[in-house]
Symmetry: C2
């Protein structure tokens, strides 16, 4: 075998360029040539490592999701060995808010893919699974009769994400609103 190269590193470098462009101006700004320029590699490399443009956008999204899940699990793990259910739930909900540049960019990229999710069959599969999974996890953390509250809590966090991204609400306020809901669902007496 000739010249060995770190494929994953190359793909990640290119994917990161896709993220930056998509977060800043939507998917239409993530053209092959522009992504190549942003990544600092010849356009030919995108063909070699991803294939067509659609494959590139798909691959970049997969890497983004992998990163996101890893970050989220890391933050949950940081809560300690036997964290209180409330703190686990809080950590999951806060994962949906753009509380740092990493989450903010990830959520912007997701927003850029949003409409395409609906039209593209391949993409639709890639998200229809995730949030029911989240719902189930949250349901585990709340008393069983709170199923409705769990679902609405998740939706609320997602909605707050939008408001914060658009600058309509501060991140601090969003966190405060979530904490107020948690206060209600986890009474101090318990």
């Amino acid at each position: 075998m000739p010249r060995q190269v770190d494929h994953d590193e190359r793909r990640r470098r290119i994917a990161a360029a896709v993220w930056r462009l998509a977060a800043a101006g939507g998917l239409e700004d993530a053209t092959v040539r522009r992504v190549a320029a942003e990544a600092g590699v010849p356009a030919r490399q995108l063909q070699y490592y991803f294939g067509s443009r659609d494959d590139l956008l798909l691959g970049a999204l997969d890497l983004l999701n992998r990163d996101g899940e890893a970050e989220a699990q890391q933050r949950v793990a940081a809560l300690g060995a036997t964290p209180a259910p409330r703190e686990v739930l809080r950590s999951i909900l806060l994962e949906l808010l753009p509380l740092d540049e990493s989450r903010r960019q990830r959520q912007l990229v997701h927003a850029a893919y949003f409409v395409r999710f609906l039209a593209d069959d391949g993409l639709r599969e890639r998200i229809r699974d995730t949030p029911p999974e989240l719902e189930a996890l949250i349901a585990l953390l709340l008393p069983e009769q709170h199923r409705d509250e769990a679902d609405f809590l998740l939706a609320g966090a997602a909605g707050l994400q939008g408001a914060v991204l658009l600058g309509q609400m501060s991140a601090e306020r969003a966190v405060e609103l979530i904490d107020r809901q948690l206060d209600r669902l986890f009474p101090a007496a318990a």
Copy 2:
């Protein structure tokens, strides 16, 4: 003056084509030529009635918002002369869900514009005003100490919109979740 033509009708016809394309495939599908074909008019007319492509997208968004507000007010008015606060609030929240094709398309178009809202200064102004206005309205309908609940309720409805659009949740379930929250905030005793 020569040949008089209904400008508003032309603009609306073209804008509707923008909506259909943007809702189906995102803003990048709304090219000048494709919009013209979808609207059934020569591409030259888009130039004449809107100017540049950016002006077209901006104008189409304005028309969309005007339509949305009119529809919403109409539905609120349909509640009768002196509707109960709970019903007004419910109507406003349901306006955020894709409960019919009109709302669904409008919300999809908004989603298509979302990332662009953040980058484009002209667009950012066009939305930063609206939802604080909504927050204030909702605050009026709830007891004053429920400010946090009002804000979270609004966020929850927005989050449910995303889940329903993505097919992760049925519209009926979303309405049910909102009604459960309203049950809590408007105790039967009151």
